[in-house]
């Protein structure tokens, strides 16, 4: 029968403790790394989906504009307007007609026409926002 002496048993105990400690730090390290990556991945995924939804809403807004305002758009204009669309309180604004309050409309809240001189948003008597040649 084989018998352990005291020194051998102590050696095994230290090996065991070392392994536990190393594994503990290793797992903490790995967890932190992987969590960070996953969070970043989630953020990117959410951003991409949000961008997709914004683009989709912008395309739908333009479709409504085409019907309601007899507004012909070239493919370049569609791209420009979709790219220039902005979000206001969860609502995608592609043109003046997408504003639903007078304050947002007259102030062009998301500055949809900031880079388009000669145009502004005006509020009509029917309670709708429309694109008008700027009076200023």
């Amino acid at each position: 029968m084989k018998r352990f002496n005291k020194r051998g048993m102590l050696d095994d105990l230290f090996d065991f403790l070392f392994t536990i400690t190393a594994a503990f730090f290793l797992l903490i390290f790995l967890g932190a790394i992987l969590n960070g990556g996953v969070n970043e991945s989630n953020e990117q995924a959410v951003t991409k989906v949000a961008e997709f939804r914004q683009t989709e809403s912008a395309v739908n807004n333009l479709r409504i504009q085409i019907y309601q305002q007899d507004n012909f758009l070239s493919i370049e204009e569609i791209d420009d307007q979709v790219a220039g669309s902005k979000v206001l309180a969860g609502r995608v604004i592609t043109g003046c007609s997408d504003y639903i309050t007078k304050t947002d409309c007259t102030g062009d809240a998301v500055r949809i026409y900031t880079n388009t001189p000669g145009f502004s948003c005006d509020w009509d008597d029917d309670g709708e926002c429309y694109t008008a040649p700027s009076i200023t």
């Binding site: 051998g8 050696d11 095994d12 090996d15 070392f18 392994t19 190393a22 290793l26 390290f29 790995l30 790394i33 992987l34 990556g37 996953v38 970043e40 991945s41 989630n42 990117q44 995924a45 991409k48 989906v49 961008e51 997709f52 683009t55 989709e56 395309v59 333009l62 479709r63 085409i66 019907y67 007899d70 507004n71 012909f72 758009l73 070239s74 493919i75 569609i78 791209d79 979709v82």
Partner: protein
């Protein structure tokens, strides 16, 4: 250290080295956690949305094209641009009739012909077939197209269906109104008055603003669509009489021994026919003379008669007028009826005048009392 202990130490060391390598490459970006749904969003953004934008562009062009087709057909009286009516034109406006001949446009044919041409011109990159206009909708079938990106291949149809806010069925009511107007005014002498009182409010002259219908009997019209202001129908109707013109505004001047019956002269008539009767119950009757005078009772001593005055026999010297003679005085035809020639010299009579042309007689429009 025994062999078992040594293996344990080396294993731990190996794991730490592996971790170090992983961390190193993570930092340099060569090993990274992939973005969730990246392929799906890439596919949606780079394939589906691009197709959506293309579809939006096609819709935009289709609406513009549909409305242009409506405007161009309306401008050319419902015929495809460049095509003329078989009934000829006046001032470049197509006639929808020529006397009895009808040349109304067949809108379905015009649309098929012009719609295909316009779509090919406006969207040359796509080809369309089964082009239709149903109610206010403009629709066509298109080819299948695809978009290839690293995310994959996406197929989509280039069909479209757009609401023009305008229906080509407006031609049906327009043509129907034109037919009624022709039936009412074609054989009327005072065409201008007839048109003014019978046409619809939105029927204007060719200026599209005023209502001057005085030049000749081939009249150009402009009708602005009630649903789409940019659509202005321009067409002309020929009101050249197909039979004898009915006579309006008959006047009677009573003198001691005679009645002078006067009516506006009618250059198209071969002759005039003057009727009288003492059966006053006919005063409100209109229509064919033979039917009206058939109502005169034969057993109660009522009388009626008529005189035919040939245009060639009309006297142009109006200084003195003789009984039983016809006169052409300025723009009036006057016939003198001697009281002695009537059955009761001092009774009450009603008179009516018709015109005769190529063997046809106009209807009696009204009676005038002595």
């Amino acid at each position: 250290m025994n062999k078992k202990g040594s293996l344990m130490h080396w294993t731990i060391f190996g794991i730490m080295v592996a971790l170090g390598v992983f961390l190193f490459f993570s930092k340099t970006g060569q090993v990274d956690v992939g973005v969730k749904g990246e392929w799906s969003t890439d596919f949606l953004v780079n394939n589906v949305l691009v197709a959506e934008k293309e579809s939006l562009y096609v819709d935009s062009v289709a609406i513009k094209t549909g409305r242009e087709i409506a405007q161009e057909l309306a401008e050319n009286s419902g015929f495809p641009p460049g095509k003329s009516s078989d009934c000829a034109t006046i001032n470049s406006i197509n006639l929808w009739n020529k006397e009895n001949k009808k040349c109304f446009p067949v809108i379905k044919e015009s649309l098929n012909e012009h719609g295909q041409k316009k779509l090919t011109e406006k969207i040359p990159q796509n080809s369309y077939f089964n082009i239709e206009f149903k109610d206010t909708f403009f629709l066509a079938d298109g080819d299948e197209k695809d978009i290839i990106t690293p995310a994959g291949k996406y197929y989509y149809q280039t069909d479209f269906i757009v609401d023009l806010g305008y229906s080509f069925q407006e031609y049906d009511s327009l043509i129907s109104t034109a037919i009624n107007l022709l039936a009412t005014c074609q054989n009327v002498n005072d065409l201008s008055t007839c048109l003014t009182s019978n046409k619809l409010l939105n029927w204007k002259d060719t200026s599209c603003n005023t209502e001057n219908f005085f030049a000749g009997r081939e009249i150009g019209f402009c009708v602005i669509s009630t649903s789409l202001n940019s659509v202005k129908y321009k067409f002309a109707l020929d009101f050249t009489p197909t039979g004898a013109l009915s006579v309006d505004n008959t006047q009677v001047q009573t003198q001691t021994d005679r009645y002078e019956i006067s009516v506006a002269k009618d250059d198209t008539a071969d002759s005039y026919k003057v009727y009288y009767t003492d059966y006053l119950a006919l005063a409100s009757q209109t229509g064919k003379a033979i039917d009206i005078f058939a109502q005169v009772p034969t057993n109660l001593l009522y009388s009626h008669s008529s005189w035919i005055i040939n245009k060639a026999d009309l006297n142009t010297d109006c200084t003195t007028k003789e009984i039983a003679q016809g006169y052409l005085c300025e723009d009036k035809m006057i016939y003198v009826v001697g009281k002695s020639s009537l059955s009761q010299e001092y009774g009450s009579y009603i008179f009516a005048v018709t015109t005769l042309k190529s063997g046809t007689e106009s209807d009696i429009q009204s009676f005038i009392s002595s």
